[in-house]
Symmetry: C2
Subunit: 371 residues, 2 copies
């Protein structure tokens, strides 16, 4: 079960075995610093989402740069992060089921742990789990700000659940989770701004409803890489949870970023040309088991005229324009994944590279289908 890393520290990049997840440390460090400064200057809190990277080493660097903690999406992720030295994890998701709740409550004895709810029965179950573990959990009510996924509707439904949380003996009402996932990948800046203006209005009304009912709402948290400046300047959000900015991906590169701070592509999948059996055709050794294609095919860095056409399980078929020679058999290409989070989830190691040399190997400790 222990998958060996595809490189050793000190190896030149060209010697790394493929497919391998490559992290360009210079770009990655600039991304971490850039987001920390932008959010830090605004005076509100940064709590980056670790579901993107699933790596305690990266989480610790985000905290060192000023983040107050991180988000996770699964109990298994939160456990791996706490095991890896992170002491404040917000599970920005509902946790349902006795086994998971028991683990979550136990984790709250070792670290500051908070979690979302959108159902009154779940509040009861959380309270019982916390009581059984002798723990106290911070609970945020998730509000539907337009994604129509998890989360109750704004205002009264939030007030009712918040009251349930306040009445529970082993829970503490910590605020509201107001994340708009779909909005992150709307291509135009105007479309993203408009979606978040709607979300801000729902949050505003909800916070007012809580106030009218005498319920203090310490935290309003949400936002992603595609929209965070809007939440940051909203006056109602006081915590931001972008994740993808550390890596970026081909899908985010298709967004219009006019007026936004820019983040650099720092994550790549290194791949080898394993077949050049016909002119105009080349096959890479990175397919659907090394790259998530849910948001489209990967881009190829540095090879104009060469396109990643189609992924099969273990192969990537390239199209090479007639006037282009294309890469040779054995040549290694850097691919920009279509979607960073599920791509990372397929790999066991980050091969961290600086100046063309492997500087570190970081395990993707929180990888997995994730209970």
């Amino acid at each position: 079960m222990a998958v060996p890393p595809p490189a050793s520290v000190g190896d030149p990049l060209d010697w790394v075995d493929t497919p391998a997840l490559i992290l360009d440390l210079d770009a990655f460090e600039r991304n971490i610093e850039r987001m920390a400064q932008a959010v830090g200057a605004s005076g509100i809190r940064l709590r980056p989402h670790a579901k993107t990277h699933k790596c305690p080493e990266i989480a610790r660097r985000q905290v060192a740069a000023g983040a107050i903690g991180v988000c996770a999406q699964k109990v298994s992720e939160a456990e791996a992060l706490v095991d890896g030295g992170v002491d404040d994890v917000f599970v920005s998701n509902e946790i349902v089921g006795a086994r998971k709740l028991e683990r979550l409550a136990r984790l709250a004895r070792r670290a500051r742990v908070s979690v979302c709810v959108d159902d009154p029965q779940n509040v009861i179950d959380l309270d019982q789990a916390a009581a059984a573990a002798g723990a106290r959990l911070d609970v945020l009510v998730e509000v539907n700000v337009g994604g129509d996924r998890c989360g109750v509707e704004p205002c009264e439904p939030v007030v009712r659940l918040a009251s349930d949380v306040k009445a529970a003996g082993h829970l503490r009402f910590a605020g509201i989770q107001a994340y708009h996932g779909h909005a992150q990948h709307l291509r135009s800046v105007d479309a993203r701004r408009s979606a978040i203006e709607d979300a801000i209005e729902r949050v505003h009304q909800t916070r007012n409803a809580l106030e009218r009912n005498g319920i203090d709402c310490p935290t309003v948290t949400g936002a992603g890489t595609g929209t965070y400046p809007f939440e940051m300047r909203s006056g109602v959000y006081n915590e931001l949870q972008p994740g993808s900015y550390v890596f970026m991906d081909a899908d985010y590169l298709r967004n219009d970023w006019s007026g936004f701070l820019r983040f650099e592509q720092s994550l790549f999948v290194l791949s080898t040309v394993m077949s050049r059996a016909a002119p105009g055709r080349a096959v890479l050794d990175a397919g659907m088991k090394a790259l998530s294609v849910d948001s489209g095919m990967p881009m190829i860095a540095g090879w104009p005229g060469v396109t990643y056409l189609q992924a099969s399980d273990e192969h990537g078929q390239l199209a090479i324009e007639p006037e282009v020679a294309g890469p040779k058999l054995g040549e290694k290409l850097m691919l920009i994944p279509g979607h960073c989070d599920p791509t990372v989830n397929m790999h066991d190691w980050y091969v961290c590279v600086r100046g063309g040399v492997v500087e570190a190997l970081w395990p993707v400790s929180a990888r997995g289908s994730g209970s």
Copy 2:
């Protein structure tokens, strides 16, 4: 890095933590037996593809039922299979790069290992690696039978490469790899038959060309779950390499199987309803990090009127028809993955179930992005 299993032996299915990869042992064992009998009765060899399951335990059962060995698609898979007790592995793919070739050649000292080529330089590199390891490798020339991915064109190009292999001191020409991947998922039986008739014709001409040049071609190997009866009755293929038949998936279920032996769905992803925040809406805890959606969304077993609508990273959004109550919060649903191979690759454990009870836990030992 050691992801704990989501269940213990003896647990009832309903107690298994989610998301979890579930193997219905009764259906799985019938599938293994059914394919072994069908191919065994034809008098030709069965070499199932282990890229589907990545699990030595399953490979050993296939061999026990009559398979002569298995196929793998990566050196890392072949290593895990040999480590797990399989002594005959055909890497049905080109292996390119010094590090991989060194590992492949070393593996050939511990097991019978064969591999594909479609490039003269790769023949030279394979020969050098085998020489350095003091090993001898069986080599099959891959021929393009219509998939236009890897593989040289039929006839003369195959003769040239086979001659190169025969001239190499540490390689043995073992035959041709003639797999038509795209044909497996053509929906109509006629379309699949027609594609394979073309492939058979190309193989036939190629084998004749080899004969004319005095080159014996011991093995002609190929076929998958969607087309194997055609290759089996072709008179030219003498080895078959289906993989998906052990599990099946939603994409294969969409094929027309008229006149085919039927295999049963044995692989599922167990998932929990984690949110029911609005009528008609439910959210599961299995998204793109637990299910590959490259071939469409999963199907839901046993819930008419409930559809898996959309996958996000950690969520699956269900649509519930108005006249249907739908599953309750905390209820567990069995999903039929859209595509079995890349779904298995996301999980670390098979939770093997019989009669509603966990009977075994098998590690997905060859999981990973896979060098």
